[in-house]
Symmetry: C2
Subunit: 349 residues, 2 copies
């Protein structure tokens, strides 16, 4: 599998996900502004991957700070963190990674700036390595929910490319496959960016897991025909009550799953849970430009000047979620208690 993001000498490189699977092109980040641009323009996407990118971006940013004192360094570092924070609003892993990096700088306030810079880079590497480990644990915890022979619907890409590696929803699917369960996947193509068609299908085909793509429009009809046994998606942010912000279209898949009595699972690391938001309707939902719908690459498909509404995410109320799979285990409703227990000390609403 292509690495999503990695250090290469003094630079960070990420595979340009806008061009996959037809081209494998590397996007090189020489400074933190390159990383912000990559997140905004969707070179890299997926909540955990954005967290890793932010951490690496801050390590790049730290290197360029020419401050005379450590307090000056810290102040400037926090400014860079603030800039990074605004790259995309919905995925909370971005904030989580920035806070972790700032926490490290604060802890090292009696060290010289150069030592802090070195530690920041190491910390970003640790976040990447941990993310992969977390995904593997999530896979182990979640695979028990997948019956032998199941047909699984997934939406968007919550795979290796959305994370440091292995994936959240696709991590659970991979773990079931590794246990020898004969499963197959139906991938929503996931308009407007087609992450399902371009990324999820690509990842699963590389792993030899049977996958068929559908237009997002066909999910309900397949459920009605009893051709889908369960749904798994990732998440961009989970509120304290278990409401889930995820790729636009997730909400309607969850409603359809409930209508058809099909379980709807969400796989996400604890870093995706935001105990500071009480419910999903307090999560900011990014609105993106109409051109993502009306154009295909450079080709104008819709009538010139047509208006479009393009929310990038939606909110799935917790009543539609059957379980949340994290690295610490499977949380069943009521989610508020389970989330509190798993977060432990880091639960601070």
């Amino acid at each position: 599998m292509i690495p999503t993001i990695e250090w290469q000498g003094q630079h960070v490189r990420m595979v340009d996900q806008r061009k996959l699977p037809s081209k494998v092109e590397w996007y090189i980040c020489r400074g933190y502004k390159d990383v912000i641009n990559a997140i905004e323009k969707m070179v890299i996407r997926g909540a955990p991957a954005i967290g890793v990118a932010a951490a690496m971006g801050l390590a790049l940013g730290a290197r360029s700070i020419r401050a005379k004192t450590v307090p000056d360094f810290t102040a400037r570092f926090k400014e860079i963190g603030e800039e990074m924070f605004h790259a995309r609003p919905t995925a909370v892993n971005l904030r989580w990674a920035i806070e972790r990096m700032i926490g490290l700088v604060e802890k090292m306030s009696d060290h010289p700036a150069d030592a802090i810079k070195t530690s920041l880079r190491q910390e970003s590497e640790k976040i990447l390595a941990e993310d992969i480990q977390i995904n593997r644990k999530m896979g182990m915890n979640g695979q028990g929910l997948i019956p032998e022979g199941a047909t699984i619907l997934t939406h968007c890409n919550a795979g290796s490319l959305a994370t440091g590696g292995y994936g959240t929803a696709l991590g659970v699917i991979r773990a079931a496959h590794e246990r020898g369960k004969k499963i197959q996947v139906i991938a929503d193509e996931t308009r407007p960016w087609l992450q399902g068609l371009r990324l999820t299908a690509f990842e699963l085909m590389e792993d030899g897991i049977p996958v068929s793509v559908i237009a997002d429009n066909a999910a309900g009809s397949l459920m009605r025909q009893k051709r889908i046994d369960l749904v798994i998606t990732g998440a961009d942010r989970i509120a304290a009550n278990g409401d889930v912000a995820n790729k636009i279209g997730t909400y309607q898949v969850a409603v359809l799953a409930k209508t058809h009595k099909i379980p709807f699972y969400v796989a996400a690391p604890l870093s995706t849970i935001d105990p500071t938001v009480k419910n999903g309707d307090l999560i900011p939902v990014e609105q993106r430009g109409p051109e993502e719908i009306c154009r295909f690459g450079k080709l104008q498909v819709g009538p010139p000047g047509v208006m479009a509404l393009n929310p990038a995410f939606d909110i799935t109320p917790c009543k539609y979620v059957s379980a949340i799979i994290t690295e610490k285990g499977v949380i069943k409703p009521p989610f508020r208690t389970g989330i509190k227990n798993q977060l432990g000390d880091s639960y601070s609403p």
Copy 2:
């Protein structure tokens, strides 16, 4: 508005709907095989438009028959009808038009073949003119269901381009607009063919009716935010019990509408009702090729060799339908009775 289909001298021409709105190109049919090809390849689509095309195609086909006797002519004409019937399986208007044309030939069995040929062409023109009148009546009947200021979701294109002119679902919307109701439309882009983005938005913009396109994935989320007041779609076939076959994605929009307590209306001429099928699950649903999902024009978007499921239609059980609007009035549940009453003598299950 561009005419969907018309006679031009000895030929039939139709606007190539695969190329709209970026290009207005005419597809010229010199014989019935050109019409079959146009229907199969989606040069023309939409149940009523397919009916008109079939009628004109049969008139073209009749002209080329070199039979010595009227019975020979009739036999060959029926063969052509049989060929035409297989162009696309779901929309029943195709069969309806073929049966009407064959009925005319049978009625004229004591006339010379040339007279029959002339009458067939006239009949096809009559079917076109009637279709437009039927749509206007449907508009009048249905517009009362649209409140002042409503935001209306529509799926696919059930407009002028899907019919002889004016449209079924869009006809109702047009009629409400003509009455001065300040309405706006949200158009599902409607993957994989993007009829909503390419055709519905185009038609409504030409008429000055406010329209915004969305990815099909956003419909549920907008309903949850109470930003949609009602849904109207067309139909490709309606069973005797009111179950509706329509463009893939219609079913899930209907389920979402019910979940959010939003009315879901279907506008269709009586020629779309098929009293010979008891319920929707007996309607054949066309499966189209994976390339419609995995490619964009000539561009490979998905991974090479990826599998796709591509049902072109789905079935919406009548329990999700609030009313069916026809040229004879508005049918409310229970649909079986209302359909029987409206069809009258032509009801023959």
